[in-house]
Subunit: 310 residues, 2 copies
C-alpha cells in the first residue's frame, strides 16, 4: 500500500528523476509550431478539431522529450476548454498519454463548489463515473488543483475521492498573481493573514491522510513570486506538499523557491509552463522544429538551477 499514497508516489518520482520540476502544458494555439498547425488545419474542416489535434501532437512530442527528466506535468484546462468538446478530448488525451509515459499528472482545474456538486467534479477528475450502476473512467488524473473559498465541505469530496484512489489535491493558498493580495493578504483580528489561516486549514484537512514520506495527499498552491510568504507557509504547513507556480515567465527564480522545500529538499514541486514548452522562442540554439529538444533542455536547466539552491 505504501506506493499507493499520492505523496509517496510523488516523492518516489522526484527522487527517481532527481528533479523537482513540473512542466505546465499550457498550449497556446498561436505558439504551437506552424508545421504542426498547418498539417492539422489542412486535413480538417472543423477548426476546433484541428486545434485539438494540433495540441495533442504538440503535447505528445513534449511529453516524450521530458518524461525521463521531470516527474510531473500540469495541463491547465483553461487552454483546452475554450475549444469545447474537442478541447476536453485533447485535455483527456494529454493526461492519459502523460500517465502512460510514466509522468504524474496534475489536472489544473481550480474547481470549487458546494458539497454535492464538488463530489461530481471529484469523481470526474480523480475517480470513476457511474452510469446505470456501471463505472467508467473519467479524466482520471493523478491530482487536481481546487479553490478554497467555500471551505471544508467543498474540499472534502476531493480529499475523500483522492484518498480512496491514491490521488492528490492541491488547494490554492497564496497564488502567484499581484492581486492575490486583495483577499489572501488581509489581516485578521489575531494578526494572521488569510493565506496563513488557509494554510493551517489545508494542513489540517490533510492530517488524516499522511503517507510514509510524512506528507499528506492534500497539498497547497503557493506562488514563487512571494518568497517570504512561501517560507512562512512551509513552517506553518509541515505535512503539505507545495505546488509552486510563477517560476520563470512570471518572475520567480530558483532562489525564490528555495523556501518551499523541507530540510531534505523535498515537499515541493516547482512549475514552469511557457519557459519550458516554448523555450525555443528564446533560444539561439534551437529552432521552432526543435521545440521538444528545447523543452527538454530548459527542463534540465531548471532542474539544475533548483538543485543548486537546495
Amino acid at each position: 500500500m505504501k506506493k499507493f499514497h499520492f505523496a509517496d508516489r510523488l516523492h518516489e518520482a522526484i527522487e527517481k528523476k532527481n528533479s523537482r520540476v513540473c512542466v505546465g502544458l499550457d498550449p497556446r494555439l498561436e505558439k504551437i509550431p506552424k508545421a504542426i498547425r498547418d498539417k492539422h488545419f489542412e486535413n480538417e474542416k472543423n477548426p476546433f478539431k484541428a486545434v485539438a489535434e494540433s495540441i495533442i501532437e504538440f503535447n505528445k512530442a513534449l511529453i516524450d522529450a521530458i518524461t525521463d527528466v521531470v516527474p510531473v506535468v500540469k495541463p491547465q484546462i483553461a487552454f483546452y476548454e475554450p475549444y469545447g468538446p474537442e478541447g476536453i478530448r485533447a485535455f483527456y488525451e494529454t493526461v492519459n498519454y502523460a500517465k502512460e509515459k510514466g509522468l504524474i499528472t496534475i489536472a489544473d482545474i481550480k474547481r470549487e463548489d458546494i458539497g454535492s456538486t464538488a463530489e461530481a467534479y471529484a469523481k470526474a477528475y480523480l475517480g470513476k463515473i457511474e452510469v446505470n450502476g456501471e463505472e467508467f473512467p473519467g479524466c482520471d488524473a493523478d491530482s487536481v488543483t481546487i479553490g478554497p473559498y467555500l471551505g471544508w465541505d467543498s474540499v472534502k469530496p476531493f480529499v475523500t475521492e483522492g484518498a480512496k484512489n491514491g490521488k492528490g489535491v492541491f488547494v490554492l493558498v497564496k497564488t502567484s498573481n499581484v492581486s492575490s493580495a486583495d483577499l489572501q493578504d488581509l489581516k485578521m483580528e489575531d494578526q494572521r493573514s488569510v493565506y496563513e489561516i488557509m494554510g493551517q486549514y489545508v494542513d489540517s484537512w490533510g492530517a488524516d491522510e499522511v503517507g510514509e514520506s510524512g506528507y499528506s495527499m492534500t497539498g497547497a498552491v503557493v506562488g514563487a513570486t512571494f518568497p517570504d510568504q512561501l517560507a512562512d507557509l512551509r513552517a506553518l504547513m509541515p505535512q503539505s506538499i507545495f505546488l509552486v507556480p510563477g517560476y520563470g515567465a512570471q518572475g520567480g527564480t530558483a532562489e525564490d523557491v528555495k523556501g518551499a522545500f523541507d530540510e531534505n529538499g523535498l515537499g515541493a514541486i516547482v512549475n514552469s509552463s511557457r519557459g519550458i514548452i516554448f523555450a525555443w522562442e528564446k533560444s539561439d540554439t534551437f529552432t521552432e522544429q526543435d521545440f521538444a529538444d528545447a523543452a527538454r533542455h530548459a527542463a534540465q536547466e531548471m532542474t539544475e538551477a533548483i538543485q543548486k539552491v537546495l
Copy 2:
C-alpha cells in the same frame, strides 16, 4: 444600447415574466425520467453519449415548459463535465437551446485563475474563440459565476469580456453551504468579515459598468441560507445583482430571500434546482412522465411565494 447591458436585459426579463426565479438545470442522471434514459441507452453503445442525449432531451422539455414563466436558467457544469466531451456538448446545447427560447442563461462554472488564464475562460464562456485570426463562438452564455480568491486581476478578464458583449458575471461572496463560514465569516482587524470585504470589492469592481437599471453587470452569489448576511450585503452592495442559491432543497424560504431585493423588488434572482426540475418526485398530482408540467407548476409556485414577500 440600453437593452444591451446585462443588468438591463435581466431586469427587462424579470418584469416581462413577472418572476424572480432562476431554474437550476442540474440533471442528475439517475433522476432523469426512466423513459428518456431507456430510449437513449437502447440506441447508443457509448454510455457518455447516451447520458448526453438523455440530458439534452430532459433539459429541452424543461426549458419548453418554463420559458414563459421564468426569466433565467442556470445549468451547473459540474453535472455535465464528468461525461467528458459528450457532457460538454450537452452543456453547450442546453445553453444554446435556452437562449433560443428566450431565456437568459447563467453558466454556473465557478472558474477562477490568474489573469492570462482567466482570459481564456472569459472568452470561452462570454466571448468568441480566435483560431488563426478568425473568431468562432464558444459556449456563449449570457453570464457566468466565478470565484474571488485570486482577487481583481483574475476577475477583470470576465468583467472586460462581459462588458464588451452585454453579458454578466456573478462573483461568489457568501455561499449557501455550512462551511462557507470557514473563510467567508472570518473577521478582520477592523471587524468586517471576509464576505463583507468581498462584497465591497465586487460592488466596486462593477462600478464602471452600471446600466440604466442602476445595477452593474458584475453581480454576486449570496446564499438564501444566511438571511441576515443577505440583508447586510444588500445594503453594502447597492449596484450588484444578487444570484441567490440555496432556496428549497437547501433550506432557504421566500421569507429568507426577501432581503436580497431592493425597495422596488428588483436586484436579485433566486435559484432553485432540484425543487423545480425534479418536482414530480414530491408531488401527488404529477407523475414521472409529467416532469415538465411539474417543473412549470413548481416554478410558478416559487414565483408566487417570492412575490408575496416583496
